[in-house]
Amino acid sequence: MTVAEEADKFGLHRVGARPSLGDYLRQTWERREFIYELAKARVQKQNQQNRLGMIWVVLKPTMNAIMYGVIFGVLQGDKKGPDFPVFVVIGVFLFEFFTSSMNGGAKSITGNSALVQSLSFPRLSLPVAQITQNLLTLMPMVAVMFIYSMILGTTPKWSWFGIIPLIALFSVFNMGVALICARITVHVRDFTQILPLVTRMLFYTSGVLFSVDRILSHWPWLVTVFDFHPLYQTLQLARAMIMDNAEYNPMSWLVVGVWSLVILVVGLIFFWKAEERYGRAN
């Protein structure tokens, strides 16, 4: 009789063994209060030492939006389309959610190595806490985004509530991306070095600052590619719901939904596969 059989006979389980995916998700769900508390604590901590405190949560993207808006507004001349300030504000504010999720997600295991090495809980809790934290910082940002839109002359309408399901889908998408990045960083630490470049590249290629239809009108095939671009489609949906005269393409919901689901499932499985690996010294 092997030791494993012997252990099984007495009802002993292998320590540190990876649970089945279902059990894993259930265990993570049981930790939801910890996840929420951790996320809340980190948000509070984030800006506590700054004089302006939580105001930075909205001040930083505001300044970003002003900077990019002015630079790209001048560069694009008449190609920039109607309501360009609102266009940029929506793009920059929502994209910030993606950037922070990707960067934070990548560091969620390696940056918490002390926690990972001293307590046992499903490691999935850490990337989830990261996304929760980003979602909590996004709330005031969205409120401010609406205020800016009104200041810039957009009339409030019912379709603004459409942002809620959109952000839910966007969170699911970001969750998947964070999970994939988290595991890659565990294997290859160097990943965090090129990550800022990747996010910057995505920032300039996701239509945060320009309308694809106008800028790329000479290359119709490229416009078609952007029809399936998850980030661009998310931003376009948000713009369609918030801005006064933006075109609304219901197909975008399908594109964003399918992308989010696929990325989440891929991310979950990819992350779960290496559960035993996290916290190891090398």
Binding site: A4, A7, F10, R14, V15, E37, R280, N282
Partner: protein
């Protein structure tokens, strides 16, 4: 120029000693495991008692850069050559096997660097084994919570966070809150951020949170008794209490007296090899003889 005595002890004049990295595939001189050192593991289970933890032929290896620095020259070479050079493998545990039963209190002894902490970490599942495995009835837990706390938050918030990290739900945390605060003697300071605490106060809070949990399989590092003399006494008493309530206890200590006092079994590890396993008095005697 004459060299003064001050120059001799001035650390700035003497760069820190850095051993040269070993760029050789021949690492046979490091930590050689002789075949006779490894007992072939035949795990026999006493059928009349209930086994709680089974450790089967456990090997743990660490890979470290021999220079102590992670990258630099060694890193560049590593990229070019597929074989990891300048990297040495430390074989920290070399085939440990034992069965722990219910209501046993097992002391683990050995000199510094003999692999005691590695064994504890492997039992909790925090360090994955290179070979062999550990089986347990429930996940063994270490007494410790420090890593989950956030210094910028108040002690009160940290109790919530630490309690949830240990696996309690919110209600249970609320029930324990007062007791933890009282035990840590922090009633007046509990609303202040933890970073404003003295190191003793922070250690007391961490201990109080960690000690609130009941365990089936508990692992205690004796160094956990913290704080000033008064609190040390109370924390030692608390550890004893936890130990009595827990099903099975592993205790690491350099104090032979405390092992004799509390353990009914003792395992001696030397250089990662299990030397002896048995009655504490006999094992400790042999260990002390070996040290001389």
């Amino acid at each position: 120029m004459p060299i003064s005595f001050d120059d001799l002890i001035n650390p700035e004049l003497h760069p820190e000693y850095e051993p040269a990295p070993i760029f050789s595939d021949d690492t046979s001189f490091i930590d050689v495991v002789k075949p006779e050192d490894i007992k072939s593991s035949t795990l026999t289970v006493d059928e009349t008692r209930t086994p709680v933890v089974m450790v089967d032929n456990l090997h743990v290896k660490y890979q470290v850069f021999s220079s102590g620095k992670a990258l630099g020259n060694a890193g560049a070479r590593r990229l070019l050559q597929p074989k990891m050079r300048g990297v040495r493998t430390v074989h920290a545990l070399k085939g440990i096997s034992f069965v722990a039963y219910e209501n046993e209190s097992i002391g683990i002894i050995g000199s510094n660097g003999s692999g005691k902490s590695t064994l504890l970490r492997a039992i909790t599942g925090l360090t994955p084994p290179a070979d062999g495995s550990v089986y347990a009835r429930s996940r063994p837990s270490l007494l410790g919570v420090g890593a989950a706390l956030i210094p910028d938050l108040s002690g009160d918030k940290n109790i919530t966070l630490g309690g949830l990290a240990l696996g309690y739900n919110r209600e249970q945390v609320e029930q324990m809150r007062e007791e933890i605060t009282k035990f840590a003697e922090l009633e007046e300071f509990i609303d202040l951020p933890m970073r404003t605490y003295s190191s003793g106060m922070a250690a007391r809070l961490k201990f109080a949170i960690a000690a609130s949990k009941e365990h089936d399989i508990l692992i205690v590092d004796e160094a956990l008794a913290v704080g000033d003399a008064k609190f040390r006494k109370r924390s030692e008493a608390k550890i004893r209490e936890i130990r009595e309530n827990a099903g099975t206890v592993f205790l690491v200590s350099h104090s032979m007296n405390s092992i004799k006092e509390t353990c009914n079994r003792c395992i001696w590890i030397e250089k990662g090899v299990q030397k002896m396993d048995g009655d504490p008095d006999t094992v400790i005697k042999a260990y002390q003889q070996h040290k001389k």
